[in-house]
Amino acid sequence: MHLKSKDIISAADLSKPEVELILERSEMMLENLRKGRPSDALRGKILATLFFEPSTRTRLSFESAMNRLGGSVLGFSGTEGTSVTKGETLRDTAKNIENYCDCIAMRNPVEGSARLVADSVDVPVINGGDGANQHPTQALLDLVTIDAEKGIGKNLKVALCGDLKYGRTAHSLIYFLAMFGIEVCYVSPEQLTMPGWISEDIEKRYGSKPGHHSSLEDVISWADILYVTRIQRERFADPNEYNKVAGSYSVDRRLLEKAKNDMMILHPLPRVDEIKPEVDDTPYARYFEQSFYGVSLRMALLQLLMGGKK
């Protein structure tokens, strides 16, 4: 099995053997990183990063990963200075840029945009977030973090908390958790529950049927992992609807008194107020380590997709 030239658009597209291959390769990359072993696996290859909406970790970790593999990066962050401001279509932009690169990593606020680009170009495309739809590489690095810190497949219990309706990270991660038989429960306000089409799909595929809670208090002593997401102001068409749910959850030291000793808190970041800074210094907080795993995971993906040597 190989992933050469495969597009990474949605968690739903990946099989368990493919995910296992990515985890295995990511572990190898992590070891190389930790030992400071240089690599030129992708020397001569070029990654284009097309970020039509803001990104800190995803774009920079893709760039870091490519540089660490000896490759080069070109691209843009924000559309200012590109022909998009002249009205160029997404498809035309992508079809031009594929002439300059060997792989495209992109983020766009429009749902399905990465699929459209992938169908329009011959180079592999990696979805770094398409609106409220999917963010598969974030979910893969979450899985890498869980595997490295806890080991997957050990009767883990994960509470997915926050904006599950618009949270693309949660939409991707739930597929991988269900794929590995990890027990999940949802914690969200009623208005922000996991979309029915995703819940139905994971039940059909993996037999997974997460329960729903509206209070963190209900699950804090149950969870091995608390995965917290931001309630995203930018996804709400109506600011009043956002105001109704903003600040629904706050993880603080008082809440953590009821947690298991080895429970860990993950967050795709950025956070606003859903995890208090006082939590950062506790052993529960692993969200900064989590972003570290993003580099090795993306090194693994880039190497697998562009077919460079190990």
């Binding site: 749902e111 699929r115 398409d130 409220a132 739809n133 979309p195 089409w197 139905e200």
Partner: protein, 146 residues
Amino acid sequence: MKDGLKITMINQGTVIDHLPPGSALDITNLMNLDTNEPVIIAMNVESTKQGRKDMIKVEKKLLSKGETDRISLLAPGATINIIENGSVSGKRHVKPPGELKGTALCPNEKCVTNTEDCPTRFLMRNGKYKCYFCERSYAVEEVRLC
């Protein structure tokens, strides 16, 4: 007099039967009809199966796949009869197709098919239409025709 006897027979062409009452005009609008050939529309006629029904008879026409797909969305359960030499030579029940390409709009206004010049595509999954692009699923009756 029975309703059936009021409706003229056709010699060659297609009869679309068992349409929901009141749907015939909408369905006629979906079809590419040759205005030089007879089209017979019957509305609210008696039906032993469904009480009342609409029916369309079109002389010298066979439906394209696109037309059949569109009819299946507006009138799932309709019957299409192929008429040759005044007799029924083929009959099939319309059901929502496994894939819709360019025939329906995605109800998700944030879907790329609603912002870019890009043909829509839906795949039937678990009895619902899943948008190939934005991945949302919709009941058959939620999908709007292009």
